[in-house]
């Protein structure tokens, strides 16, 4: 299988180079015939040069990676195709930038690709299991609607790079296609959903997911070609939940509370239930399992999907086999296979992804440009809280026996300094006079970026998405997302 894949891959590269030589020649890969007759060419003057056409058989997947800074255009010529569950329109050009993704087809399709990317075909996918999972959830949703109860609260756990987010996206997309409105909860601060990394969000999905732009976009002042989604954001501000569980847990609790209130209020979402994405790190150790338990109890999870890890599965089984949710439901635990398409994303890629998310927040995506505002803020006007670093670190500095970190506040009120340069601050929906707990529990209004710190004049130059006074709100300075290079 691997050999086959590689031949394809190399051949399609060759194809492209030959195409450049002869602009009128387009090489088609015909499954089954391709290997025997690699040079099956015909002349098709109407099709532009440097375009590769792939035929995908039914139930196969075309996986591709586009580096940051590059883009490819993909068009479905015929058949049906979907990206993480979202169906692609035929004859519509989709542009992908900086992504690792895949196009799957249930019925077979022919796609046209224009641009440089790493690619291969895969015929073995866990899609059947995944789609069946969706239909199993559908049945639970039908039951829930009939009985007026809540739809399944699905928790997806698994180690890093197991395809959790992809599965969440897939289940979300399938549910929306069938007219449902799932509530998608992201508890992974490393990777944001419709926001900037470091946030935990809850977002109801009623409309199609933007396949070109991750999950889509949060509201802007202008129109959007794909309906925007409305996230509710809370700011955690650290990369790993274990860095500061004293902060992470209450925020999760608050998030769960808000989501539950929405569910109670909104019958459509209630019938569909929630899909919860988790950070991979909590699936990898003792402390993490406690966090899983916390999530399970806070969100009244009744379905846990374990991706790819036997050990995690048995651990979950041990923890939750006798567990009952608040409403007395037992927890269904299923182990799903990891997709072969999952790739390890290295730190560089994650870093780039982060930067792209931040850039997108302020400046928009290529389809629509946003213009942020800069404004000057006096040091004295700004109320900035710095998140305390990891508990363990802190307690090690304290004298023995006094490790009780409760004496230390959640945040530290700091004066702006040059340390803040190029950092992001979360502007909270709270008042500067509010207590730290209130600030912690507040939702995020938005983010500002510190573009300049003038310590002499005691002034900050900040970049805000829109020109509003923000000094009457407390701002939180987290260490995640990490300091990036200058945005402006």
């Amino acid at each position: 299988m691997v050999g086959f894949v590689e031949t394809r891959q190399s051949r399609s590269k060759v194809n492209r180079s030959t195409n450049k030589a002869g602009p009128e020649q387009v090489i088609m890969n015909i499954p089954g015939l391709g290997q025997a007759a690699p040079a099956a060419t015909f002349s098709a003057p109407t099709i532009q040069a440097a375009i590769a056409v792939h035929d995908l058989q039914a139930n196969s997947e075309w996986r591709f990676e586009v580096a940051y800074g590059q883009s490819i255009e993909v068009k479905i010529i015929s058949g049906t195709a979907e990206i993480f569950g979202t169906e692609l329109a035929v004859n519509h050009t989709y542009t992908f930038r900086g992504t690792k993704s895949s196009i799957f087809t249930w019925h077979g399709c022919r796609i046209e690709v224009n641009g440089p990317c790493e690619e291969y075909m895969a015929e073995e996918t866990p899609m059947i299991t995944y789609v069946n999972t969706h239909f199993a959830l559908e049945k639970l949703r039908d039951d829930a609607i009939q009985n007026g109860g809540e739809g399944p609260r699905v928790l997806v756990v698994g180690p890093n790079n197991a395809g959790k987010t992809s599965l969440v996206k897939l289940l979300t997309a399938y549910a929306t296609r069938m007219g449902r409105q799932p509530m998608v909860i992201n508890t992974d601060s490393r990777e944001a959903l419709l926001s900037i990394p470091g946030t935990l969000t809850a977002t109801p999905f009623a409309s199609i997911i933007d396949v070109e732009q991750g999950w889509g976009s949060s509201p802007t002042s202008g129109p959007s070609p794909v309906p925007v989604k409305l996230p509710l954001c809370y700011y955690y501000g650290l990369a790993s939940p274990e860095d500061n569980t004293k902060l992470y847990k209450p925020i999760l609790t608050r998030l769960a509370l808000a989501a539950a209130s929405r569910l109670a209020d909104d019958p459509v979402i209630r019938g569909t239930g929630m899909i919860i994405d988790t950070p991979g790190v909590i699936s990898q150790g003792k402390g993490g399992y406690d966090l899983i338990s916390h999530i399970v109890s806070e969100f009244s999870v009744n379905t846990i999907l374990v991706l790819g890890s036997e050990r995690l599965h048995s651990e979950m089984q041990r923890r939750f086999s006798a567990y009952k949710t608040r409403s007395g439901e037992a927890i269904t635990l299923v182990k799903l296979d990891k997709s072969g398409g999952c790739v390890d994303r290295d730190d560089t890629f994650m870093q780039q992804m982060q930067e792209a998310a931040i850039r997108e927040y302020f400046f928009g995506d290529p389809k629509r440009t946003l213009s942020p505002h800069t404004q000057q803020v006096n040091f004295d006007d700004a109320t900035i809280y710095k998140i305390h670093e990891a508990n363990a670190m802190l307690s090690s500095f304290l004298p023995g026996g006094e490790e009780d970190s409760q004496q230390v506040g959640l945040y530290e009120n700091v004066e702006p300094s040059s340390m803040m340069l190029h950092c992001l601050l979360a502007v909270m929906y709270a008042s500067t006079r509010d207590s730290q707990e209130t600030v912690r529990d507040a939702s995020v209004m938005g983010f500002v970026y510190v573009a300049e710190v003038d310590e002499k004049k005691r002034r900050l130059k900040i970049l805000a998405p829109l020109n509003t006074r923000i000094t009457d709100r407390p701002m939180i300075w987290g260490s995640w997302p990490e300091t990036t290079v200058s945005l402006i």
Partner: protein, 838 residues
């Protein structure tokens, strides 16, 4: 109009038309707008359009006609005049060249041309009768001759069929070129195993109804191959009539063939109904009847491409022929052990099957002796398939080995319980070549609604259920060409799709606008708003106005927020420090997010002067032009000062809450007023003077009470002052009458006086007034009032008024009598002199 310029326009228009390759709402409306904007070149544009329709390829004719249609309906004259010239030839020439579906569209269009423009006031038809008449006549003529040809054709076909059936040993029904000399015929209804997706079956327009890959029959694996009892069938020449269906161009050429087909189906249904009545227990007949009914509903509810129609037609014709045979011949005592097939969904694809030969074919097959059900399904998609010639003789591998292969390929799970449906569309190409030798289980009950039996168990999740996939695709209807979202073909779904396409169009339009304007990311919503917000399907909400964010989200806070009226703070410093001429207050400056600048709320510029909108409206609405509003306003100012202070103390509270609070307070005040024992009291002092006292405890309990006054202090206060105005009219009239010599004027008298100057009297107030003043000496009252007033500063100047109010407040706790006198005095001082009746 310079012809040269017209030529340019026409040339441009022509080019734009050439780009119009498909039925794109956007482009068509664009072209219409161009036509509208260039009515002076109407002749040139009309000619361009006509010649384009004549010259362009048949596929592009329909969009061009839509442009024509849109132009005449939306722009009208002079295009109607220019385009009606030669419309006959334009229309008929195009009609002759296009295919049936387009013709239907054109027929529809023609029909609308005979009617007035929808929604227009003009009742004249779009095109005059003498333009559309000839076209219609010609079409009717063409149709009649077509029907004749059709009938001719059907007759001849039936003859052929009749011959075919009369053959001594009926040959298997087959359409493959394969000579049927195979030793073993593959079993029937194999379409489920054609894993090669028929790519060429995907015309974009039909996308969504063509992937009928999944089998309609559950076929358990592991059953032994059927004993080849009927396998040695001599090839009969008469089979040719089956193999080559009669030429179909005759059908596709005629527009009315659908009607005929419909009636054919209806006839068949009647036949089967009778049959069913005779043999109510016969499941076969019941199923066939159901399939036919399904087909009928599809035919009536959907528009089908001509190929499909002709295909149905062929099958129906055969079926009707066969049914005749069945009716004639006694029914075979043992029903054929053939699989029963029922469409699981009301889509044509399920009836026709992947090759267009699904259920109907099987249906048809069932009508013929059992032997015929053994025939292979026609393989329409042969591009990826080994040629059928080599296929048929291929010895079918024994069940076990195939099963093993399937297992090895991971296609079916290790324990394929026979009760679980395991049909698979996903056989890899190398296996799909085999036609699995399993016969359908005769005992299997037909599939109705396919149950969703997936449970969250690893074993259950691993079983492929291709039939469920369809609920993500074709069952959802046809996709939107822009984003792939699918819409049902039901009435509701069509409506949604139209709204959705409109949404795409609008977004597209607004995107370019927004590009110029500059956009920015919005703040995230806060918790409460988020919980209260509802997701609206992206395209449904935009229909109700200019929701500029184009989002799929309507936040309740957005919708419930009243439209804010404001004025940007003027740059001119002199103007910036101006006050409202009516209430002499300064304007409250406020930062407004929406406007992205500092504004004066509730302000409006009228004739170079800036007013509070509420002040201005009140003055106008009340219709009372009082010469000296100061006293009242002065008191109001006093109040306003408090409220302003109150507002400043707590900024940043939700406007929504303020609004509600505002309304609440306002209502309360109204209630209080109307409950006053005497209307006279309302007139002046008590209300205004008590107010500060009364509202003193309010800030503690109602933190918003004052803010809301800031927002709309004027209407609230105005209502305070409107009663005096009205009241004074009554009082003034009363006084006039008494001056005129009537010592005790009646309510009717007052009314007459007021009405004589066109003022409506308030009966309630009037009667209160009359009853209060009854039996009192006016002169006395006035004298007493004057002496009281003398102790207080006159309420003349604006600045002094608060003091007057305040001072009077102290002495306000006096008996009614005195108050009344005072009021009378004031009134006579103020209103008597200036705005008496207005």
């Amino acid at each position: 109009m310079t012809t040269e310029f017209s030529d340019d326009v026409a040339e441009d228009y022509k080019r734009a038309l050439e780009d119009l390759t498909m039925n794109s709402r956007y482009e068509i409306s664009n072209l219409t707008v161009i036509a509208r904007e260039n009515t002076e070149h109407a002749l040139a544009i009309s000619e361009a359009l006509k010649s384009h329709i004549k010259q362009t390829s048949p596929q592009k004719k329909l969009p061009a006609f839509y442009v024509l249609d849109s132009v005449i309906k939306n722009v009208g004259t002079p295009y109607t005049i220019f385009l009606s010239r030669g419309l006959y030839s334009t229309f008929m020439e195009a009609y002759a060249l296009v295919d049936n579906s387009v013709r239907r569209k054109m027929d529809e269009m023609l029909k609308t041309w005979k009617e007035p423009v929808p929604g227009a006031l003009d009742t004249r038809p779009v095109f005059p009768r003498d333009v559309t008449g000839p076209i219609e006549n010609a079409l009717i003529k063409a149709r009649t001759s077509a029907i004749q040809a059709q009938q001719e054709h059907t007759r001849s076909q039936q003859q052929i069929l009749g011959r075919g059936r009369s053959g001594p040993s009926p040959a298997p029904y087959r359409e493959t070129p394969t000579p049927p000399n195979a030793y073993r015929q593959p079993p029937p209804v194999q379409q489920g195993y054609n894993s090669n997706y028929p790519q060429q079956q995907y015309p974009p327009a039909m996308n969504g109804q063509q992937y009928g890959q999944q089998p309609h029959v559950q076929q358990p694996y592991g059953l032994p191959p059927r004993p080849p009892t009927q396998n040695y069938i001599p090839h009969n020449a008469s089979a040719g009539s089956w193999q080559q269906p009669p030429p179909q161009q005759g059908y596709s050429a005629h527009d009315n063939s659908i009607d005929e087909l419909n009636s054919d189906i209806a006839n068949l249904i009647t036949v089967f109904k009778t049959d069913f009545a005779l043999n109510p227990l016969d499941g076969d007949i019941q199923k066939r009847l159901k399939a036919l009914l399904d087909l009928q509903s599809i035919m009536q509810s959907q528009r089908l491409p001509p190929q499909q129609i002709s295909e149905i037609k062929t099958q129906v014709a055969k079926l009707s022929e066969a049914s005749k045979a069945t009716l004639k011949a006694p029914k075979s005592p043992t029903p054929a052990p053939v699989p029963t097939q029922l469409p699981q969904q009301n889509s044509l694809s399920s009836l026709l099957g992947p090759g267009g030969q699904g259920t109907l074919a099987a249906l048809l097959a069932k009508q013929t002796p059992p032997i015929q059900t053994r025939s292979p399904q026609p393989a329409l998609n042969q591009s990826f398939k080994p040629p059928p010639v080599s296929m048929a003789p291929t010895p079918v591998p024994d069940t076990g080995s195939l099963f093993e292969k399937l297992l090895a390929a991971g296609i079916i799970s290790g324990t394929p319980a026979t009760s679980t449906p395991t049909p698979n569309i996903s056989l890899p190409a190398n296996i799909s070549g085999y036609r699995p030798p399993f016969t359908p289980n005769p005992s299997r009950t037909p599939l109705g609604e396919i149950p969703n039996d997936v449970v969250l168990k690893t074993s259950s999740l691993k079983i492929p259920r291709p039939h469920l996939i369809s609920s993500l695709y074709e069952k959802l209807g046809a996709p939107c060409t822009q984003c792939g979202r699918r819409f049902q073909s039901t009435e509701d779904g069509k409506k949604k799709k139209t709204a959705h396409m409109d949404w795409h169009f609008r977004v597209h339009q607004r995107m370019t606008e927004a590009e110029k304007r500059g956009q920015h990311r919005s703040w995230y919503v806060d918790e409460l708003d988020w919980i209260k917000s509802r997701e609206v399907e992206g395209d449904q909400n935009t229909s109700n106005g200019d929701n500029t964010n184009g989002s799929g989200v309507t936040s309740s806070s957005i919708t419930s927020k009243p439209k804010l009226q404001y004025l940007p703070v003027p740059d001119d410093p002199a103007l910036a420090s101006s006050t409202c001429p009516i209430c002499t207050e300064k304007f409250e400056m406020k930062w407004l997010d929406e406007a992205q600048e500092f504004v004066w709320m509730d302000a409006k510029k009228i004739d170079q002067r800036i007013y509070h909108i509420s002040c201005y409206e009140d003055v106008n609405k009340a219709g009372v032009k009082r010469g000296t509003p100061e006293p009242v306003l002065g008191k109001r100012k006093h109040e306003s000062l408090i409220t302003h202070k109150g507002y400043r103390q707590s900024s940043g509270t939700c406007e929504k809450v303020q609004a509600i609070q505002r309304i609440y307070n306002f209502n309360q005040e109204l209630d209080r007023f109307s409950l006053r024992p005497t209307a006279v009291k309302l007139i002046d002092l008590p209300v205004h003077l008590q107010k500060p006292n009364q509202s003193k405890p309010a800030p503690a309990t109602l933190p918003f009470a004052h803010q809301r006054k800031e927002e709309i202090p004027r209407p609230g206060n105005r209502t305070d002052s409107i009663p005096p105005a009205n009241k004074m009219k009554h009082l003034a009239a009363y006084l006039l009458l008494s001056l005129g010599g009537k010592s005790t004027p009646s309510a009717k008298d007052v009314k007459t006086v007021l009405e004589s100057v066109g003022i409506e009297a308030d009966d309630e107030r009037l009667s209160t007034l009359i009853s209060e003043l009854k039996g009192k000496d006016l002169q006395e009252l006035i004298a007493e009032g004057s002496s009281k007033l003398a102790s207080v500063p006159s309420g003349g100047a604006g600045g002094a008024a608060p003091a007057a109010g305040g001072a009077a407040a102290g002495g306000a706790v006096e008996e009614k009598e005195e108050e009344k006198k005072e009021e009378e005095k004031e009134e006579s001082d103020e209103d008597m002199g200036f705005g008496l009746f207005d």
